[in-house]
Amino acid sequence: MVERWLSPEILKWQTESDSGWQVQDDLRSRSYEILAHAEQVLGQPTSELALVDVITSLRRAIDRRLRALNTLYSFRDIPIRDKPRDLLLLLESLGIIRSHMLQKLIDIRNPVEHEDVAPPDHEACKVFAEFTWYFLKSTDRMLREVTSSFVLNPAGDDEKYYGLGIEYVRKITGSHA
């Protein structure tokens, strides 16, 4: 098979989505339903058990979203050697999320759920609920449309230069013209 080598200069070119396909709404909506439940509980006078419910619900909303993303993008199949095994760290390495707050929520939820440890107070739970909302909002776009291909072009729209089209099929292929 013929081999050619492309200059790493192309990695500095402008990127733009080229084609994609629409995703069904229900892949996004379930996490919001779970978040709405947590917010409803937080909106009422809360007991410690109610705050346990809030923390576990927020964790479920996030987990549901991570699963939905993984269903569409199969992050573990991305052909990068030595990528992080942990999904959160993998997503962070790809520039999709920041994992610190997510990890913090997971670290809090596990002893609350499994060891009957007291949940964070009402104010801290409100912060986690708001963070969960931001997390869902920041990943909504990835669940609206899946980009099938994108283009890399040098120097804006000047067509005297060649461009590069990349098709993303869980392994990366490239065409150049």
């Binding site: 098979m1 013929v2 081999e3 050619r4 080598w5 492309l6 200059s7 790493p8 200069e9 192309i10 990695l11 990127t15 733009e16 989505s17 991305i78 052909p79 990068i80 050697r81 030595d82 990528k83 390495s93 790809l94 520039g95 999709i96 776009r141 990835m142 449309e145 899946v146 980009t147 994108f150 283009v151 890399l152 072009n153 067509e159 230069y161 060649y162 461009g163 089209g165 990349i166 993303y168 392994k171 990366i172 292929t173 490239g174 065409s175 150049h176 013209a177």
Partner: protein, 73 residues
């Protein structure tokens, strides 16, 4: 921008196709296929080169291309 031998950090493409635009058009016509590839892209002159292949590495380039993919979503 494209070379035939390995350069440091240059991106390896295993080519499926390497044709001029005119050759590509002829191949697609022979297959009785409407022109589907690169219709909106660059390289519209008949002697412009169209190549297509699989990106094989290096790992750093694959990572950056994957990051570029997720940045356009």
């Amino acid at each position: 921008m494209i070379i035939e031998n390995c350069g440091t950090e240059w991106i390896l493409l295993k080519l499926d196709e390497l044709n001029t635009r005119a050759e590509l058009a002829e191949i697609l016509n022979r297959k009785d296929s409407p022109m589907k590839r690169n219709e909106h892209g660059r390289g519209k002159k008949s002697n412009d080169i169209y190549i297509s292949g699989v990106v094989r590495g290096p790992a750093s380039a694959l990572t950056k291309l994957t990051q570029a993919y997720f940045s356009v979503i």
